[in-house]
């Protein structure tokens, strides 16, 4: 390698001109399934937080996951997003992407977005700027310094603002939004990143009843275009959005089906709903 190619590569590494940072990989969902978790086991000092967990999520599906405290719901999300590596099992995003070989940012870039319980928006930036920061596209210094957003990106922002119902808040600093609005903004940011799959952990905790209702509408409106996995304790909320519900218990799937089916399942009644 001569000096000039070395310099050019160094320059590109810092400024990211030249090769555009296109999404490296996208999930192949031709078989209708977007997420395959098989026999996943996670142990913490011998305690199995996940115990041979097997779960499939269809493309475009809205799935609710319920289960008592400590059932392993959050740990499952940690495995999918690469935060925790399982001791055994496999995790695939579509047919071709082996999640266990990717880093956290790579998984995010491949199209899995996660919303944590605590809202994490950029408080000093406006709603619009938050969405703009999250927008998929060229994120090199050169591009952000000299090229404004593309028309496509701007349309996308308008569309997402509408979806998360924050149109009239677009120039408001995110820090002054209500708790519920911050949660929606964060979901909006995941949409801007073109996340095909959204993992949402306890979205309605701390929300007012009106906000809960709006959140339900928002998540339902995503169904079809996005696969959404919602973990929630609030049973009324789950009932209002549930299509298919998975009950986790002691690190594995106890029951799966419609809300009515799982509610009447004897095992579920025993460990959870019957309490």
């Amino acid at each position: 390698m001569n000096a000039s190619t070395a310099l050019r590569q160094g320059w590109q590494k810092v400024f990211g001109t030249g090769a555009r940072s296109e999404r490296p990989i996208a999930p192949d969902t031709t078989h209708g399934t977007i997420l395959y978790l098989e026999d996943i086991t996670v142990s913490f000092d011998g305690f199995k937080a996940l115990n041979a967990l097997t779960l499939y999520v269809d493309a475009g599906e809205l799935r609710c996951i319920i289960g008592p405290n400590g059932a392993g719901k959050t740990t499952m999300m940690d495995v999918i997003t690469g935060k925790t590596r399982p001791d055994a099992g496999s995790a695939w995003f579509g047919q071709t992407i082996d999640l266990l070989t990717l880093t956290e940012p790579q998984i995010a870039e491949a199209g899995i977005g996660r919303k944590f319980q605590k809202p994490t928006v950029f408080e000093q930036h406006t709603v619009l700027e938050n969405l703009e920061l999250a927008a998929a596209g060229n994120k090199s210094i050169w591009a952000t310094l000299f090229s404004p957003l593309t028309a496509v990106q701007r349309d996308r922002i308008d569309h997402v603002l509408e979806t998360v119902r924050l149109q009239d808040r677009r120039d408001t600093r995110a820090g002054v939004l209500s708790h519920g609005q911050k949660q929606w903004l964060e979901i909006g940011m995941l949409l801007m990143q073109d996340a095909q799959m959204l993992l949402v952990d306890e979205p309605v905790a701390g929300m007012t009843p009106q906000e809960v209702e709006r959140t339900a509408e928002l998540l339902l409106s995503l169904e079809g275009q996005h696969s959404v996995v919602v973990v929630e304790h609030d049973m009324n909320f789950v009932r209002s959005i549930a299509r298919k519900v998975t009950v986790l218990h002691e690190g594995h799937v106890l029951a799966e089906g419609t809300m009515d089916q799982v509610q009447n399942d004897a095992k579920v009644v025993e460990v959870y709903l019957g309490e």
């Binding site: 810092v14 994490t120 950029f122 310094l145």
Partner: protein
């Protein structure tokens, strides 16, 4: 954000910026006119001393703007920016030394006096080329820029942040000070570089040259300010502020945080170098004391006093604190450092948004969304 507004309109779309630029243009025109057109006896005459003092403040203001960019916007508390300022100053000083030629005490056509005094027979390799202005000007940019690039690359790549980063920037400027104090380094030791005669063929003490340097400082300050303002208004500027507020989150949504920091740090160091290069011909000397760790800390205090994260606040802070310093060091020199420390404490406690934040409070309807304190 109004993506479709023309560039100039959004650059000037802020009261503080408009006030600053108006004052700057007025100063850049009026001061030379008052200096050149009125005789020394006239009450309207402005002395060469005053003009040079204001020119010096302008170079300080440019340094403060550079620090505000890295600290106020990117959250990197650099306590070593005076080093970049001094390096730019040394590059200019080397050019000025080589212009002296046979007019030095030892009348050596090539070697500066201090080298003759040290019995050196030949010009060291790193003094080559400094007889040409364009080369020196290039070095004013390259030396601080490359040092910042190397230093930042090492620091940011290993994720050194917060107070640790501040400490190693202090170590950087301290190490440079010790190095430049050494006679055998070849930069004139503790005397530094001085006794300049001319610049670009003009006598350095000629009124016309003084005015030229003054106007050049004003232009550099104006352009440097506008460049920083452009950056802070661009998408890159919002990324930089996102890094300041939530670094790992920014990384997670796909930005190369280290690259952004490195770039902002380097750009800021270059601005500091340019400021130093304009400072030296006006004050007539550069010596290793410019690398003192306290100097870099003072710059941060200027920015804090003025109000960080606004750019124009940095300018205001640089002027206010330095004016106070001129006053204090003349009246009660031994108290200056205490006064400076007290000022910093008071501002941190009672004026988190600095003097410009205070001014905004008394002019309703003009509040800018100024970022909260970046965590040092």
């Amino acid at each position: 954000m109004k993506p479709s507004t023309p560039l100039m309109e959004s650059l000037l779309g802020e009261r503080g910026t408009r006030i600053f630029l108006s004052v700057l243009v007025a100063t850049a025109v009026l001061v030379p006119v008052l200096h050149l057109t009125f005789d020394a006896g006239s009450p309207l005459h402005l002395s060469s001393y005053t003009m040079t003092l204001i020119g010096k403040y302008m170079t300080y203001a440019l340094l403060a703007v550079a620090v505000d960019l890295v600290w106020g916007y990117c959250g990197i508390l650099s306590l070593g920016h005076a080093a970049f300022f001094a390096l730019g100053g040394y590059a200019m000083g080397m050019y000025l030394m080589r212009q002296i030629g046979t007019r030095g005490v030892y009348a050596d056509p090539i070697l500066p006096d201090f080298m003759v005094f040290l019995n050196w027979k030949e010009l060291p390799w790193f003094w080559q080329g400094f007889d040409m202005f364009w080369f020196a000007a290039l070095m004013v940019i390259l030396v601080p820029g490359l040092l910042a690039l190397l230093f930042g690359w090492l620091a940011f790549r290993s994720r050194v942040t917060g107070v640790y980063l501040s400490i190693i920037t202090q170590a950087l400027t301290y190490a440079l000070m010790l190095a430049f104090f050494r006679n055998d380094m070849g930069f004139g030791g503790n005397n530094g570089l001085t006794d300049f005669k001319d610049i670009l063929g003009f006598g350095i003490n000629q009124p016309g040259t003084r005015v030229g340097l003054f106007v050049a400082s004003a232009i550099a300050l104006g352009l440097g300010y506008l460049a920083c303002r452009y950056i802070t208004l661009s998408r890159a500027g919002r990324v930089v502020q996102a890094i300041r507020d939530a670094e790992s989150r920014t990384r997670f949504i796909g930005y190369r945080v280290e690259s952004y920091k490195l770039w902002v740090f380097t750009f800021s160091a270059v601005l500091a170098g340019i400021a130093g290069a304009l400072y030296v011909p006006q004050v007539g000397i550069i010596n290793p004391s410019e690398f003192q760790p306290i100097n870099s800390i003072e710059v941060v205090i200027w920015v804090a006093v003025g109000g960080r994260g606004t750019l124009y606040g940095a300018v205001a802070g640089a002027v206010i604190v330095n004016y106070a310093k001129s006053y204090f060091t003349a009246a009660v020199p031994e108290f200056w450092l205490y006064a400076l420390g007290a000022l910093f404490v008071l501002v941190t406690l009672f004026l988190p948004r600095g003097v410009v934040g205070l001014a905004d409070r008394f002019t309703p309807g003009s509040r800018e969304p100024v970022p909260e304190a970046a965590k040092a």
